[in-house]
Amino acid sequence: MPDTGQDRPTLGDSLAARGISRRSLLKYAGYLAGLMALPPMASRAMAEALAGAGRQSVIWLSFQECTGCVESLTRSFSPTIEDMIFNLISLDYSETLMAASGTAAEEARLAAMEANKGKFILVVDGSVSTRDDGIYSTNAGKTNLAVLKETAAEAAAVISVGTCAAFGGIPAARPNPTGAVPVSEIVTDKPVVNISGCPPIPDAIAGTIAYFITFGKLPELDHLNRPRAFFGDSIHDRCYRRPYYDKGLFAKSFDDEGARNGWCLYEVGCKGPVTYNACATLKWNGGVSFPIQSGHGCLGCSEPGFWDQGGFYKPLSASVMGNNAVLGGAAAAGLVAGAASVAMARRRRAAAMAAASKPGETK
């Protein structure tokens, strides 16, 4: 019998069955609401909605990706959060995590689609190959492109997890041999939320799903369709090394005095000023650290085209094109143009002097 979600236990029941108290659900809801800067009352509403809700059906499709996003989610440091995420949702189809394989797996996807038509959330990680009708990335004999179109047609909303799904990511980096595009370029008729990052912060995924379950709509998004709650501030705005930036104190290499003193990493290529993500506040591995704290500049992984920004170790203010040939050419052209106008002037002068009856006032 297809699982319609109606007769599933509520999230509250299933948590209770696993010995997770209402109190910890409240705490978790409070945590998520806090992350998303929701008003204080929202955390209770969220806890209630989550406890009463049937688990949200989720179909997870993986395309041109490295599985880092799923790893980020499943290996998130705090086991309770990871548990919570998987209690929030009913992961009806995920090639990476499901036990079924082959025809059985494909059937599970179709059955879940059928049962939750118009209600399931489609999560995608990885970009979509489009060149030559998408034949460069296929699964069970179907191209990613075809599976995405077929599945998205029945989804309530689509969440692109990771920079590949959100913006094309590494598969779309120059020269983009597979014609990789973000999910939002294929799915244009329904909301697509981008939770970018390479990988994205797990709390951002959980928070967005929890918000959807609680309020029945998507959270507020920025101009790149990322939840503002997690992508509203730049890394630079929240960076604890910012005072050094403002003082003009920069590490010039990764092992100099400045680096040891924890100075700003702008000169060694930090892209924090143009990168919007929550790494500097939520951090990684259960709040232990994030790249800048570990001594490396931000790569800008949650921004479109981050792989092609002219080099991870090139300062943001440096120009980004091999320009010596162009400049050399321009210099040569300038010299030639100058020499030509000099020759013209001299020729005109010589002609004028020859025409003059009394030559030799000037030489």
Partner: protein, 224 residues
């Protein structure tokens, strides 16, 4: 914001600034070579006795124009003084700000110590005020106003825009930082393109004309 499929910042940091630099180099060399290569008339008059050598006279000419000669009114004093303020201010901003030094280092491979952002910001406000004062004087002074052409106003504008957009970018005012940074870089591109063909070219020519004037004056025995 995207241009030709890339973000505005990528466009500014890539094609825009690189094209502008190429135009700048081309234009400056073109103008310098065509000016310096022009046939020169020879002064056949006999120089006054005891005049300094040509190089000394040239240096004296450059030096003399750095200030206002005695006897000029306060408004002239103001003009020269104000000119000094924004020229020095611009130099402090261009060479003292770490981000600018890194841009130049990327081009020429040279680096030097830089000043704190607060000092640069102060210098930028002073420079901005000084540039505005220069414009007000240009527009209100009866003679200067008549002497001014579109070239003067465009040259003023392309000088002021980088200062304004730079201040906005540093203080994150008005738009997202990457947009402001892109606008700042685009304003520099505009300045570079205008530079060789407008009055900003004085940066290269000023010393040549002052040296020339100095030599002519000396030959004629002008005393200062």
């Amino acid at each position: 914001m995207t241009v030709m499929g890339m973000s505005l910042l990528d466009f500014a940091r890539g094609p825009a600034i690189n094209t502008a630099m190429a135009v700048f180099v081309l234009g400056v060399l073109w103008r310098l070579v065509s000016l310096l290569g022009l046939p020169r008339s020879v002064d056949r008059s006999r120089p006054k006795a005891g005049v300094p050598s040509a190089p000394m006279a040239a240096l004296a000419g450059i030096w003399r124009h750095m200030g206002t000669p005695r006897g000029f009114g306060p408004m002239s004093m103001f003009q020269v003084f104000n000119g000094w303020i924004f020229h020095v201010g611009l130099a402090v901003i261009v060479f003292g700000f770490a981000q600018h030094m890194l841009f130049l280092k990327g081009l020429f491979g040279l680096s030097w110590p830089v000043l704190p952002t607060s000092v640069i910001t102060l210098a930028a406000y002073v420079t901005l005020a000084s540039l505005v004062a220069a414009l007000v004087r240009r527009m209100t002074h009866p003679v200067l106003r008549l002497l001014s052409t579109g070239n003067d106003y465009v040259s003023w504008l392309v000088t002021v825009l980088p200062v304004v957009t730079g201040l906005l970018a540093v203080s994150h005012l008005g738009a997202r930082y990457e947009t402001l940074l892109a606008l700042h870089i685009l304003s520099i591109a505009l300045l570079l393109v205008w530079f060789p063909f407008g009055k900003l070219m004085h940066a290269f020519l000023v010393f040549i004309t002052r040296a020339e004037t100095g030599m002519t004056y000396a030959r004629r025995g002008v005393k200062t």
